[in-house]
């Protein structure tokens, strides 16, 4: 590397500063808005003068938001579990076994990743009503699982390709049972990939708004994004900006913490396969 000059230094510091400000200003803004007392919401200031947690106590006193939070967590976790399990089977077969049609599975998954979800909300809406899946957890889990399977299959295949599977044979030659070989050797090697795809799937399910608004109608299954969009104030003219901001912060902070803790994994997952060329 060439020696860094002052000019370089200034350039990179400025670059880094721009990136950080760009990424964090909206987050800081929504946090500050959520801390403003109701009568100061329209003061047009970036920072709150007398921060209070009133907006937070308000959303947790109302049954709507806690229900949505429960729905979001439950639905996203179950969808993640199912999608990653099915994708694990498929990815293992694609990487380890020889069978005609594996190219079709991968190409088909790719096609589904491009599929516009809005094209099937009508049929799903109709089908779910006759199957009694409308406004239920499974009514959302099924589309989330489907639309995340491609991502999970591709990510897991990329990770599984890197695993030295022959270690498993070596362990068995050394006297390990098949189960021991799997638990001690293969499972620890596969875990990072599985975990990475689980994070990506969870973020997708947590973020979805289209299915959540189209396929739910009450607190029974409505998730946080849909719930926030339908928050209502005490009157038509009282737009509940404070409640929306507080609810936004509650669902954003855990994801940001997760993203920051597992950032290496997420970056590796989103770009896996590319690194080796």
């Amino acid at each position: 590397m060439r020696p860094t000059t002052t000019k370089d230094r200034v350039f990179w510091v400025a670059g880094a500063a721009i990136v950080i400000v760009y990424a964090l200003v909206p987050v800081a803004w929504i946090i500050s808005l959520s801390l403003k007392p109701p009568d100061k919401l329209t003061d047009g200031k970036f920072f709150p003068r007398n921060p209070t947690f009133d907006n937070y106590t308000k959303i947790f006193d109302d049954p709507q938001f806690p229900a949505a939070l429960r729905n979001s967590i439950g639905i996203a976790l179950i969808a993640t579990l199912l999608a990653v399990t099915l994708a694990m089977f498929a990815a293992y077969a694609i990487v380890r076994l020889d069978f005609p049609g594996k190219k079709i599975v991968l190409t088909g998954a790719l096609a589904i990743a491009m599929f516009p979800p809005v094209s099937i909300i009508g049929p799903l809406f109709n089908m779910w009503r006759s199957l009694h899946l409308f406004d239920t957890w499974f009514g959302l889990i099924i589309p989330y699982m489907t639309f995340t399977l491609p991502l999970a299959i591709w990510t897991l295949s990329a990770f599984f390709r890197e695993i030295p599977w022959d270690l498993d044979k070596a362990a068995r030659v050394d006297g390990a049972t098949p189960f021991q070989a799997f638990r001690r050797i293969i499972a620890p090697l596969a875990a990072p990939g599985v975990f990475t795809s689980a994070i990506l799937v969870f973020i997708f399910a947590w973020n979805d708004f289209l299915f959540a608004t189209a396929l739910t109608s009450t607190n029974r299954a409505r998730t946080v994004p849909a719930s926030i969009a339908f928050f209502t104030g005490s009157s038509q003219f009282d737009f509940p900006a404070g409640s929306i901001a507080a609810a936004s912060v509650v669902v954003t902070i855990p994801i940001i913490i997760m993203v920051l803790i597992f950032q290496r994994r997420i970056v590796a997952g989103l770009t896996s396969g590319a690194v080796k060329g």
């Binding site: 230094r9 990179w12 880094a16 990136v19 950080i20 990424a23 964090l24 909206p26 987050v27 929504i30 329209t42 047009g44 200031k45 099915l86 089977f89 498929a90 293992y92 077969a93 694609i94 076994l97 020889d98 069978f99 005609p100 049609g101 594996k102 190219k103 599975v105 991968l106 998954a109 990743a113 599929f115 516009p116 809005v118 094209s119 099937i120 909300i121 009508g122 049929p123 809406f125 991502l151 299959i153 591709w154 295949s157 990329a158 973020i203 947590w206 973020n207 979805d208 708004f209 608004t213 994004p225 969009a229 901001a245 940001i256 993203v259 920051l260 970056v267 989103l270 590319a274 060329g277």
Partner: protein
């Protein structure tokens, strides 16, 4: 909705296809073992494949069937097969064309801005002398945020009553009452939320460019611009194309942020909002399904154009390679 991008589809696919062909040829007289392996392979893939088919292929066929009928859920008795009449109604309605052009404008502008900013961000992440971790951490924040939340944050920021933007700019603009300014905020939100994703895909492309090659060109007297356009961008073309394809398709489906900001008012309605309103708000399954099928066909068209672009690009690259 966040894009689900199978990471670097092209490189993996080509790598996977070649050896499997060879192996298949070798195993032409299928032994019992090979047959068992084949069966296990199919069994392991079956659950995922079945789920994907049942939840996408079947509904799209069902949507096509619905689109051929006069079918309004508020008048269930008045249901009849009408052939392609619904398509005629949709395609002869100026609203559809207006929404298509709105969608295309938002898609093209935001993807172009994202590509430029994403390239810059990827470059900063790739070459930063210090603070690389911090840059990466903060750029992942928009990726993790729910699109609806991001849309509300920007909406409140620009709203003349709650927002700080007017105070900051010294303007009295009411941003969501005019088309151009509503566009501006929608595109800004889209760009803010997805540029980091674009940057990560491009970052993967940067690692494909050998440092030595860039240095050699510099020694030979190539300017920064020449190094960028003659070496870095051509080598990154596959990564750029993948990133562009997925971001374009994702932007084309834009729904969440428009729904939160304007619900399509001030002539900012997009095709997804049109489909949603016809199906879920007005409960017109026939017309709505025709819109759905048209969106589906447009997505296929965009993907096909990109894949065709891909092919020529890859061929060109091979021709240029030493």
């Amino acid at each position: 909705m966040t894009t689900t991008v199978p990471p670097q589809a092209t490189s993996d696919l080509s790598e996977d296809v070649a050896p499997s062909k060879g192996r298949r040829a070798r195993k032409a007289p299928a032994s019992g073992r090979a047959r068992a392996e084949r069966k296990l392979g199919w069994m392991l893939c079956a659950p995922a494949v079945i789920v994907m088919l049942v939840v996408t292929a079947y509904p799209i066929l069902y949507a096509f069937w619905l689109s051929l009928q006069r079918y309004d859920l508020r008048r269930p008795d008045d249901r009849a097969f009408v052939g392609f009449d619904n398509y005629g109604s949709v395609l002869s309605n100026s609203l559809f064309w207006q929404d298509l052009s709105n969608t295309l404008i938002i898609t093209v502008i935001s993807v172009l801005i994202e590509l430029t900013l994403g390239f810059g961000l990827a470059f900063v992440m790739h070459r930063a002398i210090f603070g690389r971790g911090l840059i990466r951490s903060s750029s992942l924040v928009p990726y993790g945020i729910i699109t609806v939340v991001a849309a509300f944050a920007w909406r409140f920021a620009f709203d003349p009553t709650t927002g700080f933007v007017n105070g900051l700019l010294g303007t009295e603009q009411s941003w969501f009452t005019e088309q151009w300014s509503a566009y501006l905020v929608i595109i800004l939100t889209e760009v803010w939320k997805t540029t980091p994703f674009m940057a990560l895909l491009l970052l993967a492309g940067f690692t494909l460019v050998p440092d030595d090659l860039v240095k050699a060109a510099k020694v030979d007297g190539a300017t920064t611009l020449q190094r960028l356009t003659k070496i870095i961008i051509p080598l990154m073309k596959p990564a750029i194309m993948v990133a562009l394809l997925f971001r374009t398709l994702d932007a084309f489906r834009i729904f969440d942020s428009v729904f939160v900001m304007t619900r399509g008012a001030q002539n900012t309605e997009t095709l997804s909002i049109l489909g949603y309103n016809t199906l879920i708000t007005r409960l017109n399954m026939g017309l709505g399904s025709a819109v759905s099928i048209l969106i589906f066909l447009l997505v296929i068209l965009i993907a096909a154009l990109f894949v065709k672009g891909f092919g020529t690009n890859l061929a060109q690259q091979r021709g240029e390679a030493p």
